[in-house]
């Protein structure tokens, strides 16, 4: 049985009182003045966890405590609400107010589910879709949470694969793209990977009207150990996906591809030296639609790079130890590292995989 990550019933109360979640006047002013606001999960020097709101300069505006390690943050475009998800196999998701920095609601996974670290709001802000694990059946699920009833779980549908990770709304929110990493894991076995020699990664599109499977793209046999994990959508509606290769360390398959409904997935040809610089691991995928670029990062390789979404051509590359978080900026991308760098700013916080640009 999974021990509950959140054993403290009063976490929200404690978080509000004890972690200075609400903004000080100076911070509130900073929040108003800054053009861009980013959110990212972190671990502090004292090994506590949280999610921070940051300015376009990478300066911290607010910190919100999390009961355990967080992963990604998604936000509602219709209200000042965002959700920080526990890293797998965590069982919490914290809803917080992006204007005040106050925690609003702590969502707990059902007893036989855990979260995978990602979620997305429906375009009308009424539903929250969350990638979850039905771990006893090794089946990825998409949980549906009703925002207006206090984020009550109102349903779920299959993700049509295991080790479900990132999810993305496509085509105006009619469909949901799902990245199934394909690795068999169970919380009772920690993070041990139980099927490395017969993984089942896939990219899936489901119809959100009824959860019906529309398309499923399995990885070809020769790259069956290529775990599909993170995604973002470009201006033309193509979904870009980044992979992590679980096979032999001396093989270097391509790691970045794209697909859309009705079309096969395809990989871009990253030049060999750059490809090897990712060390078979893509930790984050982010599109800058205005710039026509898609960026991927690898903390294992200590490298990030951007590619033209139209041509797949390498546009920019940079080596930064521990880089993983990426978010669009005016021309390129904001980067964060596990060593405390967030853009040009530096702190004692270790930033987790993702940056979410809230505005």
């Amino acid at each position: 049985m999974i021990p509950p990550v959140i054993s403290k019933r009063g976490f929200l109360k404690a978080a509000g009182a004890g972690f200075a979640a609400s903004l000080l006047p100076r911070q509130a002013d900073a929040l108003v003045k800054t053009d861009a606001v980013f959110a990212a999960a972190f671990m502090a020097k004292d090994e506590s966890y949280g999610v921070a709101l940051l300015s376009e300069q990478g300066r911290e505006i607010s910190r919100i405590a999390l009961p355990d390690r967080g992963h990604d943050v998604c936000f509602d475009t219709t209200s000042p609400r965002a959700v920080a998800f526990a890293r797998r196999p965590g069982t919490f998701a914290l809803v917080f107010d992006t204007q005040t920095g106050k925690p609003v609601k702590l969502i707990e996974a059902a007893e036989d589910r855990h979260f995978f670290g990602h979620g997305v709001f429906s375009p009308d802000g009424k539903l929250l879709y969350v990638s979850e694990n039905d771990f006893d059946n090794y089946a990825g699920m998409i949980g549906l949470y009703d925002v207006r009833s206090g984020y009550r779980k109102v349903g779920e549908f299959p993700a049509h694969g295991m080790d479900t990770h990132d999810i993305q709304l496509i085509e105006g929110g009619r469909y949901l793209a799902i990245a199934n990493g394909g690795i068999k894991q169970h919380p009772d076995s920690g993070r041990a990977k139980l099927n490395i020699n017969h993984m089942e990664p896939s990219l899936v599109i489901v119809d959100l009207a009824d959860g019906r499977l529309v398309e499923k793209h399995d990885m070809p046999d020769n790259i069956r150990q290529l775990s599909t994990r993170h995604m973002d959508m470009d201006a033309q509606g193509r979904v870009w996906f980044g992979c992590q290769f679980e096979g032999a360390r001396n093989r270097h398959p391509q790691l970045l591809g794209s697909f859309r409904r009705g079309e096969d997935m395809r990989f871009i040809d990253i030049p060999e030296l750059v490809l090897k610089g990712f060390d078979n691991y893509v930790g984050s995928v982010t599109v800058n639609r205005d710039a026509g670029l898609v960026a991927i990062s690898s903390p294992q390789g200590g490298q990030w790079a951007a590619f033209e979404t139209d041509t797949g051509k390498l546009a920019y590359e940079e080596r930064i130890p521990g880089v993983c978080g990426l978010a669009r900026e005016e021309r390129l991308f904001m980067r964060s590292t596990e060593n405390g760098e967030f853009g040009a700013a530096k702190s004692e916080l270790a930033w987790d995989n993702h940056i979410t640009r809230l505005r």
Partner: protein
Amino acid sequence: MRSFVWLAALLSLFLFAQPASALDDAKAKQVMTNAVDGYIRPAYKDFHEKAAALVSETGKFCAAPDEDGLKVVQARFAETVASWGHIEFLREGPVMEQNRLERILFYPDRKSTGLKQVQALLANPDDGVTDATKLKDRSVAIQGLGAFEFLFHGAYPEAIVSENDPFRCRYGLAIAGNVEIIAGELQVAWDAPDGIAKDWKNPSANNPIYRDSKEAVSALIGIAVHGVEMVRDQRIKHFYKGRDAKVSPKLAVYWRSGLTMTALAANVDGLAKFWKAADFGAIMDPDMGSLADSADFDLRAAADALDKMEQPTAERLKDDTYLKKIDFIEFNLRDAMIRIDKDVGGAVGLGAGFSFADGD
């Protein structure tokens, strides 16, 4: 399940630790060789031998079942459990292929899947499970040590002696045979001249597993830390979550045979021997070598304490003296984990990352 504690500790190390000396490739290679040839391969060889002995005695018993024979089978089973316990923490390489780990021992089994399936087989015998060579194609829950335990230690064990239930014995023999086959596969894989042992001992740019010494030694440290974590979070916590929590003695591994502490003691003894054999002190500055010894001391203390522990029953899990012993074991395991990843990892210049760790 607090899988990230050691990662958190490593992060602290990465961000805030003292400078460490560079890793010496030759010494790192020696540590890998020590671990592989000094512990892993002998441990798998022993497991294969114990499993073969279990097959042999089970075969004799099934041919002429009696009480004495049952005791011998149970003794061979205990030896097999202990032997597996000594290498169970290694969750890398061939044991992670073809579901071998789960096929040897399907645990934890929170929904009693194995029990239900074995009971169903006993109620409606299926000769398809009496062939060891074909058992691998059946449910992982019915082909390993947990299923064998139920047959030879579960409800109505006397049935197996009575000759009135030959199916139970033939099925048990097939399980033993299946475990021996898997153990043999593991031994062969680790003994192969150009196999995994060679890759582990020779990190290089073209190596399919470890491309340099840092990756290899880092993985070895991770194995030790995850191993300690397994004992604490995936074994002890299943029956004892703390003083105020509900105790669950029947969720303990091998509770039917009373071998819970035999298995746990083997787990930690195995970790201690693995750690000792690898000899991490060899890759540390001489003035820091004692850090590796400290981890060894903690593991040894926990293993010795476990070796003296009686089976965790409902009564014992309410007994303060008994619980203090478990607390002592958990304290030493926690301390060992911190010493291994923070002290030793830091001293040899390693720091597993925070964001990437083992994939996300």
